[in-house]
């Protein structure tokens, strides 16, 4: 059974499901309780579960994230809200130095079942300090799992999986899409990590993305179909670490062409990783160099026209695909 829900409702559903199922689950974050969450993800939960389980925190990202790690080490399962991932730099010492590594440097004596979640990425004119896509940053560190669901169904299903995972999970939400609707499986529809999703089947070129950029690729695929008669396959990676190499490689073996799309900066990004995996594992199948579409190498600007120019566009994606097909750009 499925129901139509927003991304926001889907996330809340998953957390409610786990709050009800497991008493060791607690939520923490700035203004998630009385205020209902600045993005209303946790609206109503404070009244339902009370202040011991829905914990409003001061503006102390390093402190409360570290405390959540400590709770997790003693068997609690905190879900920490970063009001936005931009504020996680203050907590990144705790996330990287403690959460990611303590299991290893304790010789396996402890585990950290912790979820850190919040909106990631830009697009709403928040300018330099409030616009980041951090999947490559956190994806770099062994010990962390990093996921980035884009459909409401995956938002719920991957949140269920995240809460049950015995490791720290960096849960990067498509903040710009909180209000978008989709079919969401009822009850326990956990979606496993490390499995990409074919968002659209095609035969001529593979467009690879995650998060908000998946929607961009879907639109670019439509344009390619209409304007050039090109059949593009779209892969939604969903999970950055672990990474589903198989689905990616199989698709490229079929299409022989690939475009990797990301909102973040080009250098040292996820798209580079995608390109490297393809050349390592599907080199003989390639008919064109793998293209990367990324943000301009600048801190995010405020002005609307500059911001639009700084991020990948549908046109940039379609043109990159055209380059792999050696057809004229538009």
């Amino acid at each position: 059974m499925a129901e139509t829900k927003t991304y926001r409702e889907a996330l809340r559903d998953a957390m409610v499901h786990e709050l009800d199922r497991d008493e060791s689950v607690v939520l923490m974050g700035e203004d998630i309780g009385v205020y209902g969450g600045t993005h209303l993800i946790t609206d109503g939960l404070y009244d339902e579960y009370g202040p011991k389980r829905i914990m409003d925190t001061p503006i102390s990202e390093g402190g409360f994230t570290g405390a959540a790690i400590g709770m997790a080490m003693l068997g609690m399962r905190p879900i920490v809200e970063m009001m936005t991932w931009n504020f996680s730099f203050l907590a990144s010492d705790q996330i990287i130095q403690n959460a990611a590594k303590v299991r290893y440097f304790s010789g396996g004596q402890v585990e950290v079942p912790l979820v850190i979640r919040g909106p990631n990425g830009g697009g709403v004119q928040l300018s330099a300090q409030h616009t980041h896509s951090l999947e490559n940053l956190y994806g770099h560190f062994p010990g962390l799992k990093v996921v980035s669901p884009v459909t409401p169904n995956d938002a719920k299903g991957m949140m269920l999986t995240a809460v049950r995972d015995p490791n720290p999970v960096i849960f990067l939400e498509a903040g710009a899409l909180y209000g978008t609707k989709g079919e969401v499986g009822e009850g326990d529809n956990a979606v496993p990590f490390g499995k990409a999703r074919i968002a659209r089947e095609g035969t001529d070129v593979t467009l690879i993305a995650y998060g908000r950029q998946v929607s961009l690729c879907m639109r670019a695929a439509d344009a390619l179909e209409e304007e050039d008669g090109v059949s593009a396959e779209v892969i939604d990676l969903r999970s950055i670490r672990p990474f589903d190499e198989d689905t990616l490689v199989k698709s490229v073996e079929k299409t022989h062409r690939a475009v990797a799309v990301q909102e973040q900066w080009k250098w040292f990004g996820v798209a580079s990783e995608v390109a490297a995996i393809i050349q390592e594992q599907a080199f003989d199948y390639l008919d064109a160099p793998v293209q990367r579409v990324s943000g301009a190498e600048v801190p995010a600007p405020y002005a609307r026209n500059l911001e639009l120019a700084a991020f990948p566009s549908e046109k940039m994606v379609a043109n990159a695909a055209r380059r792999t097909l050696y057809i004229e750009e538009k």
Partner: protein, 356 residues
């Protein structure tokens, strides 16, 4: 040590000499000018709210409505060469220091004529020439910068000081505690002329001070770092001006940091997009509104005869015209040229390292 907290009768402590060359009329008779300045800030902020609602202003917008006496009062002690640093609620600081309202508004409208070329928006106003070292968006993140600036001022042999504005909510952040500790330490050697100004507007977003710390005496937190401190009624601009002058003189003379907690209230919502206000009651807001800093000053000036209804209307009319012009300018200005996307990333010849 600064003298005890008392209101000077006419409050306009050395205003003419101390004010930097602002474009906002500050010449003439003290308190009336302060009044005009506060009305200008309020009118500007109301125009911003309107611009946000009509979609002309994007991103985050944080206005200063209800808190005008704090920036206005403290900046009355600003001397040319001093520095000011604050968070994202930064419009009044820019305006009072002398940025043209039209350039500030153009920034919020995302135009090339904006104070920072349309690159930063509301949260990142800079006007280095007039002393404003910026507005910053990460809560607490600017506090260490202000302490470093104060050190630099002494290191470079000047008698300038840094006015460092911070919110009540930011004091829960580690950066505050680390920076305050440094300031106290360097201040022992007379090397940190930093005036901490806590804009205690009672809330950090939807969380009251009581729900954020067990030690709600924010001024007293500075005791832990050896920084002298006091509180002031942040709704009474004369009281603020008195403390500001005394504290600034002290910091300037000794090179030691000093902290003032200004008790004020944000009568507007936290951000322009935040209408819910589930965290406070209408009664509470109304109660604070009774002590609106502009209303209080207006009443006083009418009572003591420095203003009459006619003059009042004149000031309001002139201010409205100034801000209307700013809005018009912002609206009519062009968006930044796309080539601006690639400038200012690096200093030096190669401003952009990447492909276009």
């Amino acid at each position: 040590m600064p003298a005890e907290n008392g209101n000077s009768e006419n409050g306009d402590v050395g205003r003419e000499e101390t004010r930097g060359e602002g474009t906002v009329a500050t010449s003439g008779n003290g308190l009336v000018d302060v009044y005009r300045e506060m009305v200008m800030v309020r009118t500007f902020e109301e125009a911003c709210q309107k611009g946000f609602r009509s979609g002309k202003i994007g991103g985050y917008l944080h206005v200063y409505i209800g808190e005008e006496a704090v920036a206005s009062g403290f900046l009355s002690a600003f001397k040319e060469g001093d520095r000011v640093i604050t968070a994202y609620r930064d419009h009044p600081h820019a305006l009072i220091l002398g940025a043209e309202p039209k350039n500030v508004m153009a920034e919020l409208y995302g135009k090339g004529t904006g104070l920072v070329k349309g690159k930063g928006g509301s949260m990142h106003l800079f006007d280095v020439e007039n002393g404003l070292m910026g507005g910053y968006g990460i809560v607490g993140g600017h506090i260490p910068l202000g302490v470093g600036m104060a050190y630099a001022q002494r290191y470079q042999g000047s008698d300038h000081i840094t006015q460092l504005y911070l919110g009540d909510g930011s004091m829960s952040n580690g950066a505050f505690h680390e920076a305050a500790n440094l300031a106290g330490l360097w201040g022992k050697e007379g090397l940190c002329p930093c005036l901490f100004i806590v804009e205690n507007n009672q809330y950090g977003m939807g969380t009251s001070v009581e729900r954020t710390t067990a030690m709600t005496d924010l001024a007293a937190k500075f005791d832990a770092y050896g920084i002298e401190n006091e509180k002031v009624d942040g709704m009474d601009v004369e009281a603020v001006m008195e403390v500001a002058q005394r504290a600034a003189d002290h910091v300037r003379e000794t090179g030691k940091p000093y902290a003032v907690e200004a008790l004020t209230y944000r009568t507007a919502s936290h951000g322009a997009a935040d209408f819910m206000e589930k965290y406070r009651t209408k009664d509470e807001v109304d109660e604070w509104r009774q002590r609106d800093p502009i209303g209080l000053l207006e009443k006083k000036l009418l009572e003591n005869g420095e203003l009459d209804e006619e003059k009042l209307e004149e000031i309001k009319g002139e201010t409205k015209e100034l801000i209307d012009d700013a809005v018009k300018f912002a609206d009519e200005s062009d968006q930044p040229d796309i080539s601006e996307l690639y400038t200012d990333v690096y200093a030096g010849e190669d401003e952009y390292l990447g492909e276009k």
